[in-house]
C-alpha cells in the first residue's frame, strides 16, 4: 500500500493538512499571465516559489514556461523588495524584451508588506518601463484562498489595468475564461465563432501552452490575448464570466471600471452547463443556435441514452477546483451516476452554496467539504468507509486509486503523468462527449477485467 497510514476512522483536524486538494495563489497568477500575448510573468519573492511554479506548470503542459523572479535573499526580506523588483524590471526589459511584465506577489513579499502598486508606479516614474510596454501586477498572498484565487486575482488585475472605455461600444462580447486548459479556450473560441459572435477571450493560453514543435523556441508564442483586445474589452457589450471563483471578479471589476454588464456562468463542462452557455450567448447576442451545435448536443445525448446502463448508480469520488467540479458534479448526476464524496481545498461561499443546493436537490447523501482540511486524506478516508466505483481528480489521485483498486480519470490540475488535457477539451458538447468516453472506457475496462470467464462479453 502506498498510502498505508490512511486509516478509516475520520478525526477532525484543525492544524494539519494532509495531501492537499489545492495549491498556492502565485501559480494561478503565473498561468493566467501566460494567457496574455507577449507577457512575461514575474514572481516577486524568493527564487524557490518561481522555480516550483514553473516546474509544476511545465510538468503539466510539457511545454516551456517562462517566468522571472525577484530572487529575494535575506536582505530583501528584511528591507523590502523594492530594489529587487526595480532591478528585475531593468534586466527583464533588456534581456527578455516582453511587451508586458505581469508581477504577482508571494507569501514572502506579502508578509513584508511590499506594495506592488507603489513599486510599479515608481518603476514608471523612474522611466524604467519603455514606451509602449507595460508592467501590471496582482496581489496573490498564498495564505488566502488557493491557486484558483491567484488565477482570479491576476485575471481581475489584467482586466482593470488594461480595459478602457472609449464611450463607443463595440459589437463584441468578453468571455472571461475561468481556469481551464488551452484546449478548452480554443473550443470556447470555436463555439463563439460557430454561434456567430465576436469575442475577446481572456486569458487565452491556446497557442501558448500547446505550441507546435517547429525546431525553434519562440519565447513569446503566437497565442494569448493581445493588449489591443484587452483594451477594447472595456467597450464590449457584455461579459460572460465562466466560473464564479476564477472569472467573476474580473467581470465585476470590468463592470465597475467600464460599465460592461456581465453574467456569470459555470464553465461549460457537461450537457446542462453547456446548454446554459449556449443559451446565454444566444440571449445576450440575440443569435439563433445553429444546427451544427444542436447536432453536437444531440450526439452527446445520444451516447448518454445508449450507454446509460453502464453509468447508472455508479459511485464516484471527486476532488478538484470549484469552477470545474461544480459543473462536473452536475454532469455526473445527469449521467445518472452517484457522486458520493467531493472535496475541494479552495474555499468559496458562493461555490459552497451552489454545490450544497445541487446536492440537496439531487444527491443529499453526498459527503462534501471545501476549504481548510478539505484534503485528499479526508477524501480517501471517506472512500474507505463508503467505497466508490470511480475516482476523478488530478494526478495525485493515482495513489488512492491504486491502493483501493478503483478506476481513475485524470481531471483538473495538475496532471503530471499523462498528456491530452492541453489538446482535447472538456468543455462544450464535444468536450463532454470526450469526458463521457473516458468515463465509459475505464468503467467498461474494469467490467472486462473483473468478469468471470463465462461472463465475459463480446458486445457491450
Amino acid at each position: 500500500m502506498l498510502l498505508r497510514h490512511t486509516s478509516k476512522e475520520v478525526k477532525v483536524r484543525e492544524g494539519l493538512t494532509i495531501n492537499p486538494a489545492k495549491t498556492c495563489q502565485p501559480i494561478g497568477a503565473m498561468y493566467a499571465a501566460l494567457g496574455i500575448h507577449g507577457c512575461l510573468p514575474h514572481s516577486h519573492g524568493s527564487q524557490g516559489c518561481c522555480s516550483y511554479h514553473r516546474s509544476t506548470l511545465t510538468r503539466h503542459y510539457k511545454e516551456p514556461v517562462m517566468a522571472a523572479t525577484s530572487s529575494f535573499t535575506e536582505g530583501a526580506s528584511v528591507f523590502g523588495g523594492q530594489a529587487n523588483l526595480l532591478a528585475a524590471i531593468d534586466t527583464i526589459f533588456a534581456v527578455y524584451d516582453p511587451d508586458i511584465i505581469a508581477v504577482h506577489s508571494t507569501c514572502l513579499s506579502e508578509t513584508i508588506g511590499d506594495d506592488l502598486q507603489q513599486i510599479t508606479k515608481k518603476a514608471s516614474d523612474d522611466g524604467k518601463i519603455p514606451e509602449g510596454k507595460y508592467v501590471i501586477y496582482a496581489s496573490t498572498p498564498s495564505f488566502v484562498g488557493s491557486h484558483v484565487t491567484g488565477y482570479s486575482n491576476m485575471v481581475a488585475g489584467i482586466a482593470t489595468q488594461f480595459a478602457e472605455s472609449t464611450g463607443v461600444k463595440k459589437n463584441q462580447f468578453n468571455i472571461i475564461a475561468g481556469w481551464m486548459e488551452p484546449s478548452d479556450m480554443r473550443e470556447i473560441k470555436r463555439l463563439a465563432k460557430v454561434m456567430g459572435i465576436n469575442i475577446v477571450l481572456f486569458p487565452d493560453t491556446s497557442d501558448v501552452l500547446d505550441a507546435p514543435q517547429t525546431g525553434k523556441h519562440v519565447f513569446y508564442p503566437k497565442g494569448g490575448t493581445t493588449v489591443d483586445e484587452l483594451k477594447s474589452s472595456g467597450d464590449s457589450l457584455a461579459s460572460l464570466a465562466l466560473g464564479s471563483i476564477s472569472a467573476e471578479p474580473a467581470a465585476i471589476s470590468l463592470e465597475k471600471k467600464c460599465k460592461v454588464p456581465f453574467e456569470t456562468l459555470d464553465i461549460p463542462i457537461g450537457l446542462t452547463a453547456t446548454d446554459r452557455f449556449i443559451m446565454a450567448i444566444s440571449k445576450v447576442a440575440g443569435v439563433t443556435v445553429p444546427d451544427e451545435i444542436t447536432a453536437d448536443r444531440g450526439r452527446l445525448v445520444d451516447v448518454m441514452c445508449d450507454m446509460e446502463q453502464y453509468l447508472h448508480g455508479k459511485r464516484v469520488a471527486l476532488f478538484g477546483d470549484p469552477d470545474q467540479i461544480l459543473p462536473l458534479t452536475e454532469f455526473l448526476l445527469d449521467l445518472s451516476m452517484k457522486p458520493l464524496h467531493i472535496v475541494s481545498g479552495t474555499p468559496g461561499q458562493k461555490f459552497e452554496k451552489q454545490m450544497r443546493q445541487l446536492l440537496d436537490e439531487r444527491s443529499p447523501e453526498t459527503n462534501f467539504k471545501s476549504g481548510l482540511q478539505a484534503d485528499m486524506f479526508l477524501l480517501h478516508q471517506w472512500m474507505k468507509n463508503e467505497p466508490v466505483d470511480l475516482l476523478i481528480g488530478n494526478t495525485y489521485g493515482k495513489y488512492m486509486a491504486r491502493d483501493e483498486d478503483i478506476p481513475f480519470i485524470r481531471f483538473g490540475f495538475p496532471i503530471l503523468d499523462r498528456i491530452g488535457h492541453s489538446y482535447f477539451p472538456n468543455v462544450g458538447y464535444g468536450g463532454s462527449l470526450r469526458l463521457l468516453e473516458k468515463i465509459l472506457n475505464v468503467i467498461m475496462d474494469r467490467q472486462d477485467r473483473d468478469a468471470l470467464e463465462e461472463k465475459f462479453e463480446l458486445v457491450m
Binding site: C24, G48, S71, G75, D90, V144, G215
Partner: protein, 546 residues
C-alpha cells in the same frame, strides 16, 4: 581527455553570452563564465546571488533542505510550516524511491503534510497552529520522528519552530521532533538548505543509537538520494562484495539507520555539494574519515569500489571487488560496444545540480561523447575548482547567516578509524581522504564553465555549439527540445534510471543512444516547408478542371 571535435572560441562565446545584459549585470555574469584549463584552474564565481529578473534554474533553501536532504528518508513525518504551496510542490516530485522492508513498515513519502497557514496565522503568529498540527500528526501516525520545515513567511513573523518542536518532543517522550529554519530566502539557492539540513540531521539524529553495527566493512553512503532507484543498484553491488551499508543519507533510508550511522568506519560521499558538511562533522566528532566516490559510470563505479577496498585494506575484500567487477563488466561491455559507434564523437552540455554536472561527464566519456560546456546550478567554488580553494573562499553576506556548527571530538565516542600514519599511507597510494578535486580538472582545456546558467545564456550556447544533447532539469526540458535538441533531465532522469553502478550505466547508454539517434528529430519540418515547395515558387495543381 583531449577533445577531438572542433569547438568555438570560448572567449568569443563568453562575449556573446553577456553582450545583451545591462552593464552591471554583464560585469557580474562575466565572472561566472570561465574558460577551463585543467592544468591551471581558473577561478569561478559561484554561490552568489542571482541577479533579479534573470530566469534562473535555481530554487530555494527549503527545496534543498526538505526536498533534497530530508525528503528521501521514509519514516519521518515531514511537516511543512507555511502556506500550502511549498509543501504541495515538493510532494513526490523528486522521485526518491524507497522500499520499506515489510508491508507494515512506516513510509510517509507518498504523503504531504502542511500547516496551511492562513492570514490570521501570519498576523497573529502560527506557532499555535503548528503545535496542533504536530499533535495531530502524532495522534494519527505515531511516527518515530517529526521534522518541521519553515518556509519564507515563518522566519519573518517570528515563529520559533525549534521551541515548538522541543516542547512537543518532551510532551510525547517517544517521538523525536525537530525543526529547520530553512526559509527560502536564506542563502542564494538550494545550497543553503543542504547546509541547514546537514546541521539539523547531525544535531538531532546522528548518534542517538550507539548499538554497535554489525559487519566487517561498514560504511555510510552520503549524498545519494535514490532517484530512480540509484541507491538500490549501489546496495546490490555492496551486498555482492560484502560491504555493509550502515546508513544512507538519505535515499531508501530510515531514521534508525541514520541514528546509528556513527558506528560505521567510513563515509563515502557522492553528492559533495549537498552533504560534505556531514562528512566533516562526523570526522571531527567521531573520527570517521570520508572519501569522495562516484558510482555514476561503469568505470567510475569500478574505481570507487577499488578505492573502498584500498581504504579497508583487506585482501579478501579487494579480491571480491575484483571478482564482482569482472563479473559485471562483460554485460556493460557488450552494450557499450554495440552503442558506441552511434554516439562516438557527439557532444554534450551539462548544466545541473551541484555534483551531477560533474559525475555524468564520466558516462558521456564512456559513450565517446565530449562535454563541451558545463556548470552547476547551486554549487560552490570547491565543487568546480576542488577543495584546495576552500581557505580562499570569502563568505559573503548571503552565506554568513547560515550556521556553522562548532563540532568537537566526542569525549566517549571519538575513535579515529585510521591513524595519521595510515592516512598518510593511503594518500600515498593515491587515495584522496577528506578531499575532492572538483569538476574542472577533469574537463578539457578550453571547455566552457558557466555557473548558474540563465535561460538566455542557455539558448545562446545551444545556438553556438549545437550540442547533440543538453542535460538540465524540468524547467529547461521543453525549451531545449523545442530547439530540436534532446534534453536529458538529470534531476528526475526523465522518469527512468537507475543510472548508478553497472546496471545504471547500461540504462544510461541505452537512453542516450535512444535520445540522440531518435528519428523524430528529423521529422520536425513538414515536407512543404523545405525548399522547392510552398512559399515563393508558383504552385501548379496536378489536376485541374478544364
Amino acid at each position: 581527455m583531449e577533445a577531438n571535435i572542433i569547438i568555438p572560441d570560448p572567449a568569443q562565446v563568453r562575449e556573446e553570452l553577456i553582450q545583451k545584459y545591462p552593464a552591471k549585470v554583464a560585469k557580474k555574469r562575466a565572472k561566472s563564465i570561465v574558460i577551463n584549463d585543467p592544468e591551471i584552474i581558473p577561478e569561478v564565481q559561484a554561490n552568489v546571488r542571482t541577479v533579479p529578473g534573470i530566469i534562473t534554474q535555481r530554487g530555494c533553501s527549503y527545496a534543498g533542505c526538505k526536498g533534497v536532504v530530508l525528503g528521501p528518508t521514509r519514516d519521518i513525518v515531514n511537516i511543512v510550516h507555511g502556506p500550502i504551496g511549498c509543501s504541495f510542490y515538493a510532494w513526490l516530485t523528486r522521485r526518491n524511491q524507497t522500499k520499506p522492508e515489510t508491508l507494515m513498515d512506516a513510509n510517509y513519502i507518498p504523503y504531504c503534510f502542511s500547516t496551511d497557514m492562513q492570514e490570521e496565522n501570519i498576523v497573529f503568529g502560527g506557532e499555535k497552529k503548528l503545535k496542533i498540527a504536530i499533535q495531530e500528526a502524532y495522534d494519527l501516525f505515531h511516527p518515530k520522528s517529526i521534522a518541521i520545515f519553515s518556509t519564507c513567511p515563518v522566519g519573518l513573523i517570528g515563529d520559533d519552530v525549534h521551541a515548538a518542536s522541543r516542547e512537543m518532543k518532551e510532551k510525547f517522550g517517544d517521538c523525536n521532533v525537530f525543526g529547520f529554519s530553512c526559509e527560502g530566502y536564506r542563502g542564494v539557492s538550494q545550497s543553503a538548505g543542504h547546509h541547514i539540513a546537514n546541521n539539523g540531521v547531525f544535531k538531532h539524529m546522528v548518534g542517538r543509537d550507539n548499538t554497535p553495527s554489525e559487519g566487517k566493512f561498514k560504511l555510510n553512503l552520503l549524498g545519494e538520494y535514490n532517484i530512480g532507484g540509484d541507491a538500490f543498484e549501489i546496495e546490490r553491488i555492496f551486498e555482492k562484495v560484502g560491504i555493509t551499508l550502515v546508513a544512507s543519507f538519505s535515499g531508501n533510508s530510515t531514521v534508525a539507520a541514520i541514528e546509528n550511522s556513527h558506528t560505521a568506519d567510513l563515509n563515502v560521499i557522492l553528492c559533495h555539494r549537498s552533504i560534505n558538511y556531514m562528512g566533516d562533522m562526523m570526522e571531527t566528532k567521531y573520527g570517521i574519515p570520508w572519501m569522495k566516490v562516484n558510482f555514476v559510470g561503469a568505470e567510475s563505479t569500478a574505481k570507487s569500489l577499488r578505492k573502498i577496498g584500498e581504504y579497508f585494506g583487506d585482501e579478501e575484500l579487494k579480491a571480491r571487488i575484483e571478482a564482482v567487477i569482472a563479473e559485471e563488466a562483460p554485460k556493460v561491455k557488450a552494450v557499450i560496444e554495440e552503442i558506441l559507434p552511434r554516439t562516438k564523437g557527439k557532444t554534450a552540455m551539462l548544466f545541473v545540480g551541484g555534483s551531477r554536472a560533474h559525475h555524468y561527464q564520466d558516462l558521456f566519456a564512456e559513450l565517446g561523447m565530449t562535454t563541451v560546456a558545463a556548470g552547476y546550478e547551486f554549487a560552490h567554488r570547491d565543487d568546480y575548482e576542488g577543495r584546495d580553494v576552500l581557505p580562499k573562499i570569502k563568505v559573503d553576506a548571503d552565506s554568513k547567516n547560515i550556521e556553522e556548527l562548532k563540532i568537537v571530538a566526542d569525549p566517549e565516542l571519538y575513535n579515529p578509524r585510521k591513524t595519521e600514519a595510515e592516512l598518510e599511507a593511503l594518500k600515498e597510494k593515491g587515495l584522496e581522504i577528506n578531499g575532492y578535486e572538483g569538476m574542472m580538472k577533469q574537463m578539457t582545456k578550453k571547455s566552457l564553465i558557466v555557473d548558474d546558467l540563465s535561460h538566455y545564456e542557455s539558448e545562446k550556447l545551444i545556438e553556438i555549439y549545437k550540442p547533440d544533447i543538453f542535460c538540465a532539469g524540468i524547467k529547461e526540458k521543453y525549451v531545449v527540445q523545442k530547439m530540436g535538441i534532446p534534453l536529458k533531465q538529470l534531476h528526475s532522469y526523465d522518469y527512468g534510471g537507475p543510472y548508478t553502478g553497472f546496471e545504471g550505466a547500461v540504462n544510461f547508454y541505452k537512453d542516450i543512444d535512444r535520445m540522440v539517434n531518435n528519428p523524430v528529430w528529423k521529422l520536425i519540418k513538414a515536407p512543404w516547408e523545405t525548399a522547392g515547395n510552398g512559399k515563393g515558387g508558383e504552385l501548379a495543381a496536378s489536376y485541374v478542371t478544364q
